[in-house]
């Protein structure tokens, strides 16, 4: 059944980049874990199509915001780890500013309606 609290496709697409950068700000991580983390934090309301994360990661890497390295998990599984670069931190700060602005405008408008 369609959940009315699910976040729409456009907003999911727009929030992918800041979310990935925010998650990587907490330390290096690999694709699968990033998706699971977003699902957990959003309580499955932010429905990412799993495969779509990878083109975004590759784009961010090409733009020099993140970097990657191949490594292994504790159980010997091969993994590609991503971490934030300096430019990525700057981009993240910019995203935070923009999203905070949108949030404060929306909150302000909502308050006005109830006054």
């Amino acid at each position: 059944m369609y959940d009315r609290f699910m976040i729409n496709k456009e907003l999911v697409a727009a929030s992918t980049e800041p979310l990935i950068l925010s998650l990587l700000a907490g330390g290096e991580n690999y694709g699968y874990a990033l998706i699971q983390e977003v699902k957990r934090l959003s309580k499955d309301k932010l429905a990412w199509t799993d495969g779509m994360l990878y083109p975004v990661l590759h784009r961010l890497e090409r733009r020099g915001l993140i970097k990657s390295r191949w490594g292994e998990s504790e159980n010997g599984r091969k993994r590609k780890y991503y971490s934030l670069k300096k430019d990525g931190k700057t981009a993240l700060a910019r995203h935070h500013q923009q999203w905070s602005l949108v949030h404060s405008v929306l909150s302000g408008l909502r308050k006005e309606q109830y006054v």
């Binding site: 694709g31 495969g51 990878y54 784009r59």
Partner: protein, 219 residues
């Protein structure tokens, strides 16, 4: 009996056939698929259902291919932007530094043809180099200000004229006139200065292309 390895191999072939060919993304997607299958198996699904659910969760192959293609396209545009920027810097430096280098050669070092020249001849050479730069930057300005009006036909007509002039200069004017060495150099340099128009057009052309690829990659 369901064979997980065979199913993953088949999925791999399907992805390759659909055009997700770049080895790194495909390897990464396969690792993701395996991890998701493992998680679904732990939650109680059998191998076959876990595989089909994991493939479904990855998303439609066609959309995935399109998204990876966009990444490659963006990278190509960024490369083309860098290449045009290099050309732009090169032409800009050439147009800007030509009079400076010539001035130094004529008045400071006085080497080559400039050693025998009078002050007037040296000044004339320098003036021709300045004219070359003015032609180049003037042409760049016109091309960028009136991109629509400055059609390819006008550009070709102008280049044809410049080329014709250079030929007339080289094969008619210079052989049939009796200039002294210094004067000959000054006349040749003045004759070559319209060549700046070509440099100016190249300057504008590389800038237009760079901005074009910039717009494409941000749209």
């Amino acid at each position: 009996m369901f064979d997980l390895q065979k199913s993953i191999d088949d999925w791999h072939k399907q992805m390759l056939a659909a055009g997700v060919q770049s080895p790194v993304p495909l390897e990464e997607l396969e690792l993701h698929l395996r991890e998701e299958i493992e998680r679904l198996r732990e939650s109680g699904l059998d191998e076959s259902s876990a595989f089909s659910t994991a493939v479904q969760n990855l998303g439609p192959v066609e959309t995935l291919r399109e998204e990876f293609e966009k990444v490659i396209l963006e990278a190509n545009l960024a490369r083309s932007r860098r290449r045009w920027l290099a050309f732009e810097i090169l032409f800009f430096a050439y147009a800007l530094l030509f009079p400076v280098v010539l001035g130094i050669m004529a008045f400071v070092v006085s080497n080559g043809v400039f050693s025998e020249m009078t002050f007037g001849e040296k000044s004339g050479s320098l003036a021709s180099a300045v004219m070359f730069s003015l032609f180049a930057f003037g042409m760049r300005f016109i091309c960028l200000k009136y991109p629509g009006r400055f059609t390819k036909r006008i550009r070709d007509a102008l280049f044809f004229t410049v080329l014709l002039w250079l030929l007339v200069l080289a094969y008619v004017v210079m052989p049939h006139s009796n200039f002294a060495d210094g004067a000959r150099s000054v006349v040749s340099m003045w004759g070559l200065s319209p060549f700046g128009l070509l440099i100016g057009w190249l300057l504008a052309f590389s800038r237009t292309n760079r901005m074009g690829s910039l717009r494409k990659s941000t749209s």
